[in-house]
Symmetry: C2
Subunit: 330 residues, 2 copies
């Protein structure tokens, strides 16, 4: 089994079948424009994030380009950016307070990990390169408002269907030279992307698209209806528990029209971004004291009064989390 | 499907089944000591090469550590090492002429890509970290002399069984802290390694081990007997063509005792390292003029009188290569 999938494609290790199912799923969901885009497949969207930094960094600059993101940001962005002490790019911190002149790369995660809010770019200067991380822009998490139409957008099967261990992500890339450089990065990094995973991911995405099309005609349940219902149910239970006391607070989301479900819906993010109210300064330690493991806001560039908690765990773990959270209030 | 395979293992994304088949295959072949080693799985051995650089680089050094390899070296080593302009490590060129004091990383590829020779480290100074790339240390390519017993050794299914598109490699690592840092690199680079590929690779390795054990008892053909015969046949044909003229020369290999096949055998590398004799200075261009695509010695740190040609292509392509090579002589 060769390294190559299609030598006529810029991304020569992209399996054609996977590429077709990506386009089809975006058309079914209506969450991204695929026309006029090059698809670059990656070993998860993590690899594509690094490929994007490599592709967007100026090659002739005397100093590394700054990579910024508004707080609270995905906790791995800083370490992924800086772990090799690259001379091409370096972590520049919070996009809100970024003041430096010249080129920069801004990461726009929408809906945001960790807090679930819909985001736009913050720096808004002429020399910015934007990387849109839309891992969570799927109907089970957030209303689909319009097809995303950016220069460089990242998606992953990890969050669209829950197959994190498959390690398959994809980028939709407008500029051909950027797509070429991202492909080059993946060549130097891992000489392509597992064909086994790409072919299996193609089958999974096909099943999801099929389930929507068949689900509509036969009234059986589609993947997105199922997962939307599950998330809605978890969020409802969580809000009941949290709002019964004044110890914690949750982000507030406005309902919005979802073009996919064709109705007004509330966001129901993959993570809880919980704030300890009152005197508790270190929310992570406080919750650990009650056997609830979370990730402190400090990792996300903000105060330790915040923690992130996954909403995508097993039913058993989620219910245990709710039980333990309830026990704190009583 | 979660990111995690076994949270109790240092390499928490290693599928246990794959790890077991790696140990079994090394025991069957006798080409590497696995006792007292940590197995780190990678997206091909390329990712493990980068993980090794990350793990072996001093974190507190004022300048990047030099990465060296004797010429002719694998052509991707320099670009893989330098593409991110890392402050941790940088390409230091030919190990034979490396003179600098202090720590360094030396790559020892054995049998060597491109020239097929068995190698040992060249620099031999006290502060060296060695990475042994043993991708081709399998019985179809070279006599197995003894189980390799190094600090850090890389293998890959790409060359052991031919499944390059699977993107699965493994490292055998003696030092626990190095294994931890390599795992951390893969976490930051791709958050683990495809489970689909690991599980399929486990099945492939199992079939190879089974075929040897069953092949011995039932007199049917094992994978290694089949592939050894195929390589022997190709090399025989190639030597017949090349030695019929004085235009080209091939490396000379000494036969050696192979503990796996239990007999004296000649090396039969995965690549031809062909030299243009006489006045031809640019062997790649010369052969391109005869419709033979090769890779010039310049990419491997040596003279353009040399080229590398794959011996692992399809029968059809290999026969076409022999026909075209023969045509040059006549």
């Amino acid at each position: 089994m060769s390294y190559f999938s299609d030598v006529t494609n810029i991304c020569w290790f992209l399996e054609a079948e996977f590429g077709r199912e990506v386009v089809r799923l975006h058309n079914v969901v209506g969450n991204a424009v695929t026309e006029g885009r090059h698809i670059v497949v990656g070993t998860g969207s993590s690899q594509l994030f690094l490929a994007a930094l490599y592709a967007l960094s100026p090659t002739d600059s005397p100093e590394p380009i700054s990579v910024v993101c508004a707080t609270p940001y995905y906790s791995s962005y800083p370490s992924m950016t800086d772990h090799l002490k690259s001379g091409l790019y370096k972590w520049g911190g919070d996009a809100e307070s970024y003041e430096k002149e010249g080129p920069y790369i801004e990461l726009v995660t929408s809906p945001n990990n960790p807090d679930g809010h819909v985001r736009r770019s913050k720096v808004n200067r002429s020399q910015g390169f934007l990387v849109h991380d839309l891992a969570y822009y799927w109907p089970q998490y957030t209303p689909i408002s319009a097809p995303a139409d950016h220069d460089l957008t990242l998606f992953t099967v990890s969050k669209s269907t829950g197959h994190a261990g498959m390690r398959i992500g994809w980028a939709l890339v407008k500029d051909q030279e950027v797509a070429k450089k991202m492909t080059k990065f993946i060549e130097l990094n891992t000489i392509g992307v597992s064909k086994d995973s790409q072919l299996r991911a193609a089958k999974v995405l096909r099943a999801v698209s099929d389930s929507w099309e068949l689900g509509n005609s036969k009234e059986s349940e589609s993947f997105f209806k199922f997962s939307h219902k599950l998330m809605a149910n978890r969020w409802k239970q969580l809000r009941l528990v949290v709002e019964s006391s004044e110890l914690f607070s949750l982000p507030k989301f406005s309902p919005a029209f979802c073009t996919f479900f064709n109705q007004v819906l509330e966001p129901q993010p993959a993570f809880v971004w919980l704030k300890c109210e009152g005197n508790v300064e270190d929310c992570e330690s406080f919750l650990r004291g009650h056997n609830i493991l979370t990730r402190s806001g400090t990792h996300f560039g903000v105060s330790p009064k915040y923690v992130r908690i996954s909403m995508l765990d097993t039913d058993e773990n989620f219910n245990q989390f709710l039980d333990r959270l309830s026990a704190i209030m009583s």
